[in-house]
């Protein structure tokens, strides 16, 4: 459905995203994980033409055969909302504080569909019910500040799916929310993706969140896709050194019997921090922070395929056998 080829996004002299190939089949759920500054949001936003004005995009993004790179604003505006829905990180900022909820959802429908007033109203109420908001009728007249963060995000999801898009792009949709609310939103997104055959491109820095919702994961670092494969294979058998480091640094809750063992135990860290734009090393982008660097790393790694079928780009990959390391149950 969505095919990305040789996509490069550059701002000034710096290439921020450089992805050779990425595809999202119809109704698939793909997670993109990376730290801030890795280019994950830029990749997702470029798909719908929401990259910054000064960004130069080359390569190809095709959605159901339609080429999006180089499309006019008008063409993109038609794709956005109708074919591809988008939800953002901070629901409070994405809603207009001065406009009633009903009108904000109505606007999204009117922009793309030609329906009568009554049909629009029915559809709005239906949408708000579908995202499990109680009292949809009463909600129409409310303002965003009268809703909690989780409810606001549900309204935004209703807006995003208003015109039955085939793909929903979700950029860190739960980062601003509490963990209990987060789980509600995650299961809603999963449910909607399944019931509507809607693809999901889910961007997050949190592997734990990605794990619950995506079937496949792309790990992105320095604008490069360094590992890609089925979710459980990438998380349980990471081959790229960066993926493994990311898994190890994620402090989950240990199993009950290990709770005391991991208490006050140092966490595994990734050395240093993500370099600033344009400061990434040549060759493998993870060079300098990696603990298993070899001479070959000065060159761009080639694509390798792991025994379980996922692909990675690393000159000195984690051993397949010894790699079951990210499990939180393991005492480091």
């Amino acid at each position: 459905m969505l095919e990305i080829k040789d996509l490069k996004v550059a701002i000034g002299p710096h290439t921020i995203v450089d992805i050779e190939r990425l595809s999202v089949p119809t109704s698939a759920r793909l997670g993109i994980v990376g730290e801030s500054g890795s280019g994950k949001t830029m990749t997702a936003m470029t798909v719908v033409g929401l990259q910054p004005n000064d960004a130069v995009v080359t390569g190809s993004i095709s959605f159901e055969g339609q080429e999006l790179v180089g499309s006019t604003d008008r063409q993109l505006a038609d794709v956005r909302g109708r074919l591809i829905g988008v939800i953002f990180q901070d629901p409070a900022k994405a809603l207009n504080p001065m406009m009633r909820i009903g009108r904000q959802v109505t606007e999204a429908i009117k922009l793309h569909l030609d329906l009568s007033r009554d049909q629009v109203r029915d559809r709005v109420i239906d949408l708000l019910t579908q995202v499990h908001l109680p009292d949809a009728e009463g909600l129409l007249r409310r303002y965003p500040h009268q809703l909690s963060g989780g409810q606001q995000q549900r309204v935004l999801i209703a807006i995003a799916i208003a015109c039955d898009p085939k793909l929903l792009i979700a950029d860190e949709p739960t980062t601003a929310l509490d963990v209990t609310v987060q789980n509600g939103i995650l299961s809603l997104l999963k449910e909607l993706s399944e019931s509507r055959n809607m693809g999901l491109l889910f961007v997050s820095h949190d592997l734990g969140v990605i794990e619950t919702i995506s079937e496949t994961i792309g790990v992105i670092y320095g604008g490069h896709m360094v590992e890609f494969g089925r979710t459980n294979e990438v998380i349980n058998n990471p081959r790229h050194r960066y993926t493994r480091a990311l898994v190890s640094a994620n402090p989950g809750i240990a199993a009950d019997e290990h709770l005391e063992d991991v208490l006050n135990q140092r966490l595994e860290v990734i050395r240093g921090s993500v370099p600033a734009l344009g400061r990434f090393p040549s060759g493998c982008r993870f060079r300098g922070r990696c603990t298993a660097e070899i001479d070959a790393c000065a060159q761009l790694p080639e694509v390798s395929v792991s025994a379980d079928g996922h692909i990675f780009k690393c000159w000195n990959p984690v051993d397949q056998d010894a790699s079951n390391h990210g499990a939180v149950d393991v005492v480091h």
Binding site: D206, E211, N250, A254, E260, N264, R266, V269, S273
Partner: protein
Amino acid sequence: MSFIEVSGLHFRYPSVRRRGDLSWTLENLDLSIEKGSSVGVVGESGSGKSTLVRILCGLLIRQEGDVTFDGKDLSDWLASDSRELRRRNQIVFQSPRRSLDPRMSIRKSLGQPVRAIERRAPSDDEMIGWLERVGLTDEVLPRFPHQLSGGQLQRVGVARALSVGPEVLYADEPTSALDVSVQAQVLNLLMDIRADLGLTLVMVSHDLAIISRTCEHVIVMKEGHIVETGPMAEVLSNPADPYTAALVQAARAVSLQA
């Protein structure tokens, strides 16, 4: 008597009162914190966890109830010896970028607590010592906050809090503004410092996973009340309150599984 002792604590923000609302932001809290222990305060946003911590370190004044630090009531501390109270209780805030003055060099920001509390200007050598303890070098001294990364700034925040030699370190969501890899670095730093200096650590977080790795005791808050408190492993494996159980379940759902 415990090091920090709270009983019947009530608190409301003045702005709430002005709107004619008489409900409490914090209502009837009881808790005690032993010297040298590590305590995690968890709960959703709006549950009052940050408010509680600000009261404990003397930044907000409670309306009713008793709060004692080292055997002396907090209002007595504030009335007679507020500087000593602040020297012994320091806090690290959530957003390092917002808690440092953007127009002050790190050298100047870092020296502020000693200037305010000990009424003297710290030497560069002293400051370099503080920075080294948190894994930074003298390179950052002439820089400004916008020139440092989030992780570096949070280290500066920790160095600054430690500069006056506190006994209790409060950390209010110290890593929620940071990437997961940097978060691990800051958590390790806090655990190391606590072990080296024998500090009492009180850490606020909405993330139970982080608390489960760093705190021996846990206080679970909801809507201004303490719903459960106890040793971390006990509370997590056998939650007595339904809200705690929901919290543990939610946190487990997004924990990486083997």
